[in-house]
């Protein structure tokens, strides 16, 4: 369980990096297409103009990220990592906030700036959670029955 927690936490950090990469690729593919005289509008977006695949991947992959952080939270209940549940909740909250910011950016582009910055927060929280899982477990509950009583 501890290992699963750790792997998932690192996976979330890696997925954030993949998300950043997808957007970087998409923006430049779009820019290069426009430079060559291409038109970019809603129709171009839907018919596979360069970069659009990466934009769509970014939107769909957000779902995979959310799913992974949910699985991580469930695993944290059983993993007996000190503050493991707390950190898994942090990761989940950061993921939800990040997705919400992404959605709201469609209403107000300025929120997109927060969306970009908040990705670093999610990355950081996920790495922190993974580090927590590396520490050896304390002598569990038997040693500290007071915790339950």
């Amino acid at each position: 369980m501890r290992t699963a927690y750790r792997v998932l936490a690192f996976a979330i950090a890696a997925m954030v990096a993949i998300q950043a990469g997808a957007i970087g690729y998409a923006v430049f593919a779009q820019f290069n297409w426009i430079e060559k005289g291409g038109t970019f509008d809603k129709a171009a977006f839907d018919t596979g103009a360069p970069g659009t695949g990466a934009f769509m991947f970014h939107a769909l992959f957000a779902g995979a990220l959310l799913l992974t952080s949910l699985v991580m939270l469930i695993i944290s209940f059983f993993a007996k990592i000190p503050h493991g549940v707390r950190w898994a909740v942090f990761v989940l909250i950061a993921t939800i906030v990040q997705i919400a910011l992404g959605v709201l950016s469609h209403l107000l582009a300025a929120i997109g700036a927060l969306h970009g910055a908040a990705a670093l927060v999610l990355f950081g929280v996920a790495v922190m959670a993974a580090m927590r899982a590396r520490k050896p477990a304390p002598a569990v509950e038997e040693a500290v029955p007071a915790e339950v009583a």
């Binding site: 297409w33 291409g38 038109t39 509008d41 809603k42 129709a43 171009a44 977006f45 839907d46 018919t47 596979g48 103009a49 360069p50 659009t52 769909l60 779902g63 959310l66 799913l67 949910l70 939270l73 469930i74 209940f77 059983f78 997705i99 959605v103 709201l104 469609h106 209403l107 569990v140 509950e141 038997e142 029955p145 915790e147 339950v148 009583a149």
Partner: protein
């Protein structure tokens, strides 16, 4: 002892916490599943719009949609044969996967005169996912609406279907597949349809300009780049712009133009438009009128940034795109509607939102209608002769081109501001984020009609509701042996 208990207690708490997350998710997932085969009449919940809840028998005693046809004994005036194929297209020098009708994309332009009976015999030569042809904007009898799984079964490879309808309304229309439409229309399975007045064309030059984007490349009538049309000084020109894409496009010109018609309905008293663009929503049409300058200069009618119709000879520069769009709410002069919206007997809401959840078992951020996700969407029930008002609002973050099959509606107001111009009749309406519209129509075409977003990917994501007449049933099912997939 205490230690063992605490371990067990902790395990139980952990399991309960895990179940508290998993059970609601599983329940949401399960309730979003749709059977392999289902009738749209049994989908979602009935919405009577405050009107009478009458006999809504859609069983064996009801009239079958397949019987709602034009008099079979009447002879056709215009006959067209179409063969659909799945093949690569050459667009702007690139080969892209797509679909053709009679070997071309778009398919042939069908032209009829008002009142003529049009008969189109369609054969599916090689489109693997099957086809069905919908007559976008033509208020055809229900059995001819061409929606796989609602008004007919998909036409499989080797299959045939004959569409028959009377071209009652003069104007610019188009036809396109309504089977797996989100792939087939984008891939080019469509064509133009023009209904001329009984006495022929009104203008000396009449141009069809069907705008379509193939794999990112903008075209007019299937050709990348500009469409050049000969026109002499002083001549009147009608440019019929058809937006076959999924998003709105803007049109503008280097010479004042008039908007002669929208979605097949003439604008009353159109005036010159000089510094505005005309927005045409996805699936919508606009007929633009231009008087050729007497000094012999050519005219450039821009159809989005990427393509243009050039009238006359020469290569005029692209005029700058106007920053504001023409407001059709106050364009032209008012005239009689032919019915009284104040006598509406049904008031429906079509509220478009977006929320997380499951659709067909897939988690995501989905379009909602009145707060519900597909398939738990409203079924708007009407009785023949009803006057219906529909209040549309969009708080989903994106633009939606709303298309009601089988009817034309008139725009009464936008964001609470009443229309003051020419009656603005639509079959496809551009509803921007944060906009509300009140539209009205007469329920005068019995059947079961889609009322959906014509951003066809949105439709495939579940942005589809239906308008159903009392006492009409459909023998067709979505899914099933015929593999009907209308969206």
């Amino acid at each position: 002892m205490a230690g063992r208990f605490s371990t067990r207690a902790r395990l139980i708490v952990s399991i309960v916490a895990a179940l508290a997350i998993l059970v609601p998710l599983a329940w949401l997932w399960q309730s979003s599943l749709v059977p392999n085969s289902y009738s749209v009449t049994g989908m979602g919940y009935l919405d009577y719009g405050g009107g009478p809840v009458g006999d809504h028998d859609h069983g064996s005693t009801a009239r079958s949609i397949s019987d709602i046809v034009v008099d079979p004994a009447r002879k056709a005036d215009v006959r067209v044969d179409l063969a659909a194929e799945q093949q690569n297209l050459t667009i702007g020098g690139r080969s892209v996967p797509g679909y053709t009708l009679n070997g071309t994309s778009p398919g042939p332009t069908i032209t009829a005169h008002q009142g003529q009976l049009v008969e189109v015999h369609v054969r599916n030569a090689s489109v693997k996912s099957g086809i069905a042809l919908h007559w976008h904007g033509v208020d055809v009898p229900a059995a001819m609406d061409g929606v796989a799984g609602v008004t007919q079964d998909e036409i499989p490879v080797g299959g045939e279907f004959t569409y028959r309808f009377v071209a009652d309304q003069v104007g610019t229309y188009w036809y396109h597949s309504h089977q797996v439409s989100n792939e087939q229309v984008i891939g080019g399975l469509f064509g133009s349809l023009v209904v001329l007045p009984k006495n022929g064309r009104g203008e000396a030059v009449d141009v069809v300009a069907a705008a379509h984007t193939y794999s990112g490349t903008k075209t007019i009538n299937g050709v990348a780049g500009d469409l050049k049309v000969p026109a002499k000084p002083g001549q009147q020109v009608r440019v019929r712009v058809i937006n076959t894409d999924n998003g709105p496009i803007e049109t503008w010109a280097d010479t004042p133009f008039r908007v002669l018609a929208i979605d097949g309905y003439a604008v009353n008293g159109p005036t010159d438009v000089a510094d505005h663009a005309m927005t045409i929503t996805a699936g919508g049409r606009a007929d633009l009128g231009v008087t050729m300058p007497s000094d012999g200069k050519p005219v450039r009618v821009q159809v989005s940034k990427g393509t243009a119709v050039i009238l006359g000879s020469g290569d005029p520069a692209t005029p700058p795109q106007p920053t504001t769009a023409l407001d059709l709410l106050s364009y032209g002069s008012p005239t009689a509607l032919g019915f009284d919206p104040a006598k509406a007997t049904r008031h429906f809401d079509y509220s478009i939102g977006r929320r997380p959840g499951f659709v067909r078992g897939v988690p995501g951020l989905w379009w909602s209608i009145n707060g519900h996700l597909y398939p738990n969407v409203p079924m708007y029930v009407v009785r023949e002769g009803d006057v219906v008002i529909m209040h549309i609002d969009n708080h989903s973050g994106q633009v939606h081109p709303m298309h009601l099959h089988g009817h034309h509606a008139v725009v009464l107001s936008r964001n609470g501001v009443a229309a003051t111009g020419s009656p603005w009749w639509i079959d496809s309406l551009n509803v921007l984020e944060d906009e509300t519209y009140d539209i009205a129509f007469v329920a005068d075409n019995p059947g079961i009609w889609l009322d959906h977003c014509h951003h066809l990917k949105h439709a495939a994501q579940g942005m589809v509701a239906h308008l159903m007449y009392e006492g009409v049933r459909t023998p067709y099912k979505v899914g099933g042996a015929a593999q009907n997939r209308p969206e």
